[in-house]
Amino acid sequence: MKKIPTRTWQRLAIALVVGGVLVLAISGMLGRIIGQAVNPLIGAQSWFSTRVNAVVEFFTVPRDVLTLREQNAALQNEVARLQSEILELQQQLVETDILYALLDFAREKPENTYVAASVIGKDPSPFLNYIILDHGSGDGVFKGMPVVTEQGLVGSIDAVTASAARVKLITDQSSVVNVKLIKAKTEAQVKGSITGDLSLEMVNPSVQITEGDLVFTSGLGGSYPPEIFIGQVLSPQLKENALFQTASIQPSVDFQTLRAVLIITNFKPVDIAPLIPTPMQ
């Protein structure tokens, strides 16, 4: 009998092993067998890895704290930046609301032309109720033009430069506005005061003034256009033997929080001073 060479046996064995592996792989048994063989190895690997990581962490924790601190500081900076951004956006939102309200007011009275301006300051003297606006003669703003908000009358332009204007508020002591009362159907004057309060004066004592009566500009005197809201009557007073009635006025505009206003640019105030008769000498 012819002896089969060793090399042939080897090839046969390899072919059998490969064939067996293929059969196992095709039948799906290979994965399970490999899994069972590798599982102890994985267990050992995990055990070893956990211990090694613990040792590594022990030596690297201080460095991690520093990194964390840096990250924390960076995140805090980011939070601060975002918070300031939120505040800025909220501010812009408030300004947008104000501008929308002013726009609505301007749309309601399309016969007027307006210039919107921001309030940038107040007169330094505590005796005066004046504000400073960021628009001036360069923007078509001139002395005497009325200033309003969507809530009502604010005042009139007192002085202008090329890029700024000073407004005398109706609450100033020297301010006098000719007005009409809607319910009482009479005319009167609204005067300012050093404390910023408004008072209704020069009201005929025979007229009955009621609390809550609405006060609008009358247009008399030519300083302000008619039909601009000023406020409501509060606490009318009729003193005995007084020539006129008085009342305090609740202004519709909050003068403490004024931020943006509209200047009516197509209104030209009339100076009636030369028409007022002077006593004969």
Binding site: G121, D123, P124, S125, P126, R166, S174, G196
Partner: protein
């Protein structure tokens, strides 16, 4: 040199005056930052730059305000005049001098403003002006006098050290 360094400070104070200080009120009174700063600077400085600064400050405020121009100008010049006088007389207690100057200059400023406005034709009632504006404003000026004096003194020390070094 002192004038050049002080002009930006005056401008910043003017902005603060018309934006912040005018809203921080006691009744209807407000503090006058420029007046207090001028007094503090005049007491701390070693030269006569205060007069020029008073002129500049008076012109700046007069440009903004509706008050007659001569009122602020004269009040600020009076501050410097008083400071020069008191720094010679009360040289050992500058803080006391500061308070006296602020009181006299504030009373002068607000009383003169009251008179000036009445001359202009605006009828301000005396008792309300006194109770609501003049006394509270004087009090506020006195209230901020001490911190402003400390800042002005530090500033003048820094400034003169810088001037000597150059």
């Amino acid at each position: 040199m002192a004038v050049i360094f002080s002009i930006p400070i005056l401008l910043v104070l003017l902005v603060l005056q018309s934006t912040v200080a005018s809203k921080v009120t006691l009744l209807n009174g407000t503090a006058d930052l420029l007046l207090v700063w001028l007094a503090a600077w005049a007491l701390s400085s070693k030269d006569r730059s205060g007069y020029i600064l008073a002129g500049i400050a008076g012109a700046l405020v007069s440009y903004i305000t509706a008050i007659p121009w001569y009122i602020y100008l004269s009040a600020y010049l009076l501050v410097i005049l008083l400071a020069r006088y008191f720094s010679q007389k009360l040289w050992e207690s500058p803080l006391l001098a500061m308070l006296i100057i602020i009181m006299i200059a504030s009373i002068y400023l607000y009383t003169f403003t009251f008179i000036g406005l009445r001359i202009k034709g605006v009828d301000y009632p005396l008792s309300i002006s006194l109770n609501q504006v003049i006394i509270p404003s004087v009090f506020l000026n006195l209230f901020i006098a001490i911190p402003v004096f400390a800042i002005a003194k530090d500033f003048s020390k820094w400034f003169y050290r810088l001037e000597n070094a150059s």
